[in-house]
Subunit: 357 residues, 2 copies
Amino acid sequence: MAAYQTSPGTDVAVVINPLSNADPHPTPSRPVAAISLAELFERANLTGDLQAVERLLLERASSRSELIAAASTHTVRSGGKRLRAALALLSARLGNYSLPRVIHAAAAVELIQAASLVHDDLVDQASRRRGRVTVHARWDNDVALMVGDYFFALAAGEMALSPDPRIIGYYAQAVQTIVEGELSPVTVVEPSETALGQYYFKTSAKTASLFEAACKAGMAAGGGSEAQITALGRYGLDLGMAFQIIDDVLDFVGDEHVLGKPAGNDLRQGTITLPLIYAVARTGNPQLRTIVERGHPSDGEVAAAIAEVVAVGGVEAALAEARRYIGQAIGHLAEFPPSGAQRALIDVAHFVISRNA
Amino acid sequence: MAAYQTSPGTDVAVVINPLSNADPHPTPSRPVAAISLAELFERANLTGDLQAVERLLLERASSRSELIAAASTHTVRSGGKRLRAALALLSARLGNYSLPRVIHAAAAVELIQAASLVHDDLVDQASRRRGRVTVHARWDNDVALMVGDYFFALAAGEMALSPDPRIIGYYAQAVQTIVEGELSPVTVVEPSETALGQYYFKTSAKTASLFEAACKAGMAAGGGSEAQITALGRYGLDLGMAFQIIDDVLDFVGDEHVLGKPAGNDLRQGTITLPLIYAVARTGNPQLRTIVERGHPSDGEVAAAIAEVVAVGGVEAALAEARRYIGQAIGHLAEFPPSGAQRALIDVAHFVISRNA
């Protein structure tokens, strides 16, 4: 069963619940895929705490420099749904929850994420992110470089306010790993062992490592044991892998109005992702190889390649892999007794695989 | 009395001791200006501890990514004389010194400095730094961006190993301030009140704030009181102001073989510094204004502007200002009883104003 059933020849994705058969946990009162992340947070009674994180982030975006204040505020306001902060908060709720004790770890992960995105957009020269203009496009490259640095420093500042050396260590390690991922592109579509090895390294490093750190930081702030921190870290890592795979799938079958960025972006930029690697492995289609190797494909070539990747099951295979990660992620939560927070973390896993943006 | 007596029409700087009359402390056994920083550290019995810092930095430069390991090792090996680490160590020695307790703070400040320089060189598109090729020139812009981020993360990692929330706070604040300075250029040469205000803000933020943080971090690691930490911070701030003014002076009268970068660089790039601001204030010479406002001066125009700035006393006035800061810096050390570390910090102040590279 597929999270996205794409009618051949169209870009319309029909979202259904990919885990409804496999899920060992009771299904929530309404189909998970129909729930937005905001509803999920509301149900978990998390909205107020996330608003407190948001206020903190906006406060931090101030600066003596008007330019930095403007670009930082723009960046915070482009910050998305605060999934990583929510993971830190929910992880802390598995232990002894205190918002003052975990809020700085939750803010820090969003500040690190913001810093990485601003620098990532600079490397990619992407003009839009989540439907909003990027910092280097709105101001210039130097401002984007410095605002990224500013956000890393703000994250360090949060650590100073909640000085648990483990939490600092998790985040410092995550940023090092993100950088390693940023500079480790997938360079080939085949042989598929090589391509898959590169893809998993990059995805684990660039995306999943920060999910892992957010969960570990939250669990540490909640006074968890080393075993609990390790289990939550594994949940975060698997969740992050699935999150990125779905991101890559959405580049093939997503609605660009919902995504806030053009579909087919990866193919256009020669970025090799899981659906393409699987599609090439299944067909050996030389046209698919050529489009990323040669570069600068036309809109028609991109559309044809997308249709081909979907038709030969590349998207389907990638979704199966994402589902496998989600199953693993939920498995790690079995270490914890049932609770509202545990239920919410399971719901987050369902959301990640059924999201359409 | 001048630190640099420049023969008109030449670039030769004759270095003498600028503080020999004003210094309230006994002069060292040989003229300070003849001592290199390495000799000064040796005399203070600091060489072994700085070597331990250096080994730690080289260890940290490793990575699973060969590219990051290579670029990071290149960056560490281009790291200069470790003045900021030395300040942290010497500050700690004013209190209860323990190398294991202060070494992470000393390494962190050098990692932050390295990150800032790599990003600063990227903004300036400078091809050389201290006589060595810069990271973006040797690799590319994306690698420089990411290696800078990597060094910020390494610095955070050091904080996790020596988790004093005050030290993390000093460094986080310093990086925020450096960024504010980076994005606050001096935009005018006159009116001089405006130009001087911009110059002092930028210099204080971009350079002096990290000297301040290094000293405060060292004093905190040495168990100093809040009053002692404040006094050392002021020493660092004043020392850093003088350090940058001398840097700017050397761009007019330094020997480029000793500097490891071409002289007249600032004028060529339209960077407005203290000697130029003073020279314009003294003469109102429209040619000096034009050279930075118009941009892209010829070598002849740069040479003529340098000669003019020196001839009208712009360099001399900037040196007087640097000497004032050094006097202030040394004054803050009066809070501490005489000791080898206090003597060494005074010697560092003498070195800063008499250095020729």
